[in-house]
Symmetry: D2
Subunit: 345 residues, 4 copies
């Protein structure tokens, strides 16, 4: 059994890790930390876990994380890089759900996250945890930077097109929409029910942290110059992410060939569903599961391909993907503990 620790389990990615790991057949939940909630049974904060998780939160210094096999960081940016060196030294693997190990470009990290990076050498060895595009590196990694939710959809939706060299990579547009849980479980006015409900808005249009992350990774996929215009929006739903991606075709390619690019790329992937050409995936078709669905469109048979991508932002966009990485890092079947069928309605 893999002994698992979680640092910072009071947020949505934390409780989602708990949901997934508590029924994972190869995992023993060993420690979960929260300085503020030291001593509180986890199930008192999240009654959904009553009878299923009997751990209590413990202060970090009491948590014996070094006795774990792997530690997940479901924390704000900056926490994982502070604690990772000690854990790695003790032979513990690290999976960070925040941004500390996502961006190889340290200047970019420091610009967008406003903190210095404390362990650049670890960053170099860290694997970017987007399994379908980086499986081998993850398998061998001691430390994984789990991707952002938006970047997951953008990369998986654009990769086959970029790799095939059939689109103008310099003017990609990603019009993305996220459920409110993506903003986390922080007390903030903007995400109150009465503010975010029955409402729709864009945010961060002039710049968002997921833009540099996505750009850096897209650049690994093509030699072409990559430019990305990323527009996030907030949808009055709890879970779910829908990215509408626009790319101008530069090659003469018919719809069947476009579709074939995706089916070839993802045909064997257990967590990517390439739907029939012209489908309209719904976010709820992935709710509470690790599935990501993709569908292609080509309006008026014109020169622009539209890629629709949906996922549950807390699962494939965060905690599920992290568990998928863990499975790889420990030599398990990648799907272990992750075969939940989406909850619909």
């Amino acid at each position: 059994m893999i002994k698992v620790g979680i640092v910072g389990g009071t947020g949505y990615t934390g409780v989602e890790l708990l949901r997934l790991l508590a029924t994972h057949p190869e995992v023993k939940l060993t420690a979960i930390t929260s300085r503020k909630e030291d001593g509180l049974p986890v199930a008192d904060m999240f009654p959904s876990l009553r009878g299923r998780v009997d751990l209590a939160f413990s202060a970090p210094e009491k948590a014996k994380l070094t006795e774990c096999d792997v530690v997940f960081f479901a924390t704000p940016h900056g926490v994982a890089m502070a604690q990772a060196p000690e854990l790695l030294a003790a032979g513990v693997k690290v999976i960070d759900l925040a941004a500390d190990f996502r961006l190889q470009d340290i200047a970019s990290f420091e610009k967008w996250y406003k903190i210095p990076h404390s362990c650049p050498e670890l960053l170099k060895e860290a694997a970017y945890g987007l399994v379908e595009l980086n499986r081998d590196a993850i398998r061998k990694a001691r430390i994984v930077g789990n991707p952002g939710c938006y970047p997951t959809t953008m990369q998986l939706g654009l990769a086959p097109l970029l790799q095939a060299g059939v689109i103008d990579a310099s003017h990609l547009i990603a019009d993305c929409k996220s459920g409110v849980s993506g903003a986390g479980r922080k007390a903030e006015v903007a995400t109150l029910f009465s503010e975010a409900g029955d409402n729709f808005k864009a945010y961060g249009v002039s710049g968002h942290r997921h833009s540099p992350e996505t750009l850096e990774r897209l650049r690994f996929l093509t030699k072409d110059k990559v430019g990305l215009l990323f527009t996030p929006h907030l949808v009055p739903m709890i879970r779910g992410m829908h990215s509408t991606l626009y790319a101008r075709l530069t090659k003469d390619i018919d719809n069947a060939a476009l579709q074939a690019l995706f089916e070839k790329a993802y045909g064997n992937e257990p967590f990517i569903d390439v739907m029939p050409f012209g489908s309209h995936p719904e976010t709820r078709s992935t709710r509470a599961s690790n599935m990501l669905r993709i569908a292609l469109h080509r309006p008026d048979d014109g020169d622009t391909v539209v890629v629709l991508v949906v996922q549950d932002n807390l699962v494939k966009g965060a905690s599920g993907q992290a568990v998928q990485c863990m499975n790889l890092m420990f030599g398990l079947d990648e799907t272990t503990g992750l075969m939940h069928i989406p909850v619909l309605p």
Copy 2:
């Protein structure tokens, strides 16, 4: 492996049965019928099942239901009783999620459902599928009438009090609130998003079919005269049911003793969680799971006990309970395939 057929799989209880049964380790989904959708792959209607359920709907006459071990009816009232005799004759067990086998009082059935009952003799042998109150009968039954969603909460919330004889059974009040999925997947104006959303209302206050069902069952629990005022309300959420039950105490009993009644009754139940006295259970703490949670209150230490009961109306209130019955009928551990942790947030 238990060969399972589903009659009428295009509604919410149908798709929920599919979600639960597709990962049930002892079940082989064998047939699912819909005259209207004959030939359509189930996953085309419910993309959440893509890659997980490869059955197609078939017209009833093609479906070879008699080769199944058990058939679930997720149909409108009246269908199960028409088809049950032939299935039972072929040795197939029957679990009806509609009302055909819920009410032993045929006159009451016919009054509330406006159709004659076609097989009163089968009704007599049918077991009422509320496991925690009727486990032995279900275990031996060939045919089960799965309880209504509201009645499940009302019975489980009131049973320990009635059995202990500590309340005035003649003036029970059940103020119940249901998510919109309880109304089914029928095209109707009243349950459109723009009608039911951002709105709250009572309905059926002057009479609702779940009242006679609940009354009949409550009367099995006590010799006292039973009277029930049941007020259903519609909540702008998809899944979830919250029943607020009011009963006047007739005995001098302190809060600890009240709590003990529930803990004794349900302490070993895998799907009932008696929360600490004074808790406020949330519907989401049961979302997409078979758990039902109960908490007791006694405002101002007065003479009225308030019982709060929550469940997912589509799981413990419908399809999950039906699978729980199936497990019993086939000698399996009652929890097989039903240990989903609730989805929160």
Copy 3:
């Protein structure tokens, strides 16, 4: 023109006052205070007011409230009683939307609000602002304590029955449901979209501040002993309140006579709509308007009458009622500026 000041305009009752007063034909919005937002144009915080309200927030000491004719307090409890004496001395009328002037019983106030009452003598002269039950006193008042949202529905729903002496006043039950805006515009985890959405729960079952307020007022309506069991619930909608009231009949009275009690009591009220016996009012039928609707039921023609009451908690339950009081206090037609038609859908 009535010069109006608002203290504490950054919450939901504040912005609702602004919406109502900005189009009130007899009002000139003169000052709105917020220490924290001093200098910020109101429309920068609430873009719905762009082009319609050109005031900026100002710190209290700059606001020249004493030059107003009336000041509304849309503040936490305790603020109005601190500032009221100075304003009244300057001839300014005061309407408090918090609890400082609601409860005549000071001990009860101090028990529930945990602060000492700083001006008991003013409390004595304050009028309770439930217009339909206290019109004359409000008309003459210098200071009004605007009712709580729940108490408004409970009192208006029970008053005709209590005044007629046809119910058992000692065992009233009020099962009430409120939209999330009732919790205010404070940054709190419990009212985040991802916490309160797609969820339903009771809260404060063992005791809520609106209970003593309602009890005190109900006792003015009858000589009988009054007992009230009040159970508030949180509904995943923004605006709206639905109270389901249960009262046991003690007199032999038929349904027509019951209905007549309400029609007689409220037949001339511009903001109370007594619907036909057996109706199911929806909260949205009052959305963004000052209307409150009532309907009566008598299930199974039994001995319990069920009263359904709906209102918009921010209008008739708060800011609209406050403006209705202001109209009376300044000799205007009570409906001035308040004739918005509910927004449906």
Copy 4:
């Protein structure tokens, strides 16, 4: 007083017309037709109108529409063109909220709406009812084709850029999001609360009727070749529309100059709010009002301008715009009866 008739008042644009017209100071609601609901008081279907609209629905042949001054058609496509000739002959003006008089290109109309156009000659004289771009024609018109909701946002968001000739008109992208009320008040599975709630999806990506309408009108604004990729999405909210428009700049123009284009175009418009550069308008800031808000962005100071446009799809996107047209057609101040402040929260 203008005598107003409404044909087809049982849908959302119908009830919204009633809300707006019932308080319009120059209007007398005279007739409202529905064959199916003949005789039913309007307020029985829409209790929000109780006490405010005392009309009953009447069958079309009884409705004496020819005695009205103006008739609104809130009907499915095809109804207005069948009845308009008779009304116009009787001197009655016509405003159609459906598509019969929107598209001047009859072939396009017939392709997208699948019905022949029965009065091409009337179509020629019809004015397209987008006030801000067509005010003079509307003022003189006997017949107005009220714009679609999406086209309103796309045209108003792109017009200043097209007219100034600063963008590549051939590759416009409009990623648009609509609340569910845009789908109307028809009983359909896809818009049930349990289907559309907590969910997000694109629809009609490969072709939508609002595309040809928008294209035809955009072409009047520029001599350049116009190409538009329009992607509609369904948002789980009742009212509200958010369009995110992408246009590639072809001229060297700075942000201040871009902003100036919009401020100059719309500075005097009562119902268009050009927000500060870089703002993120929220749909709720227009809820239940006739306001439309626009904000410009230029991510990374690149060559693409992003225009964000929000409106209430039922008001500026439908019924409010229709009343705005009526005001013009009858020589009233354009804002008469339309100055509702948006409802927030």
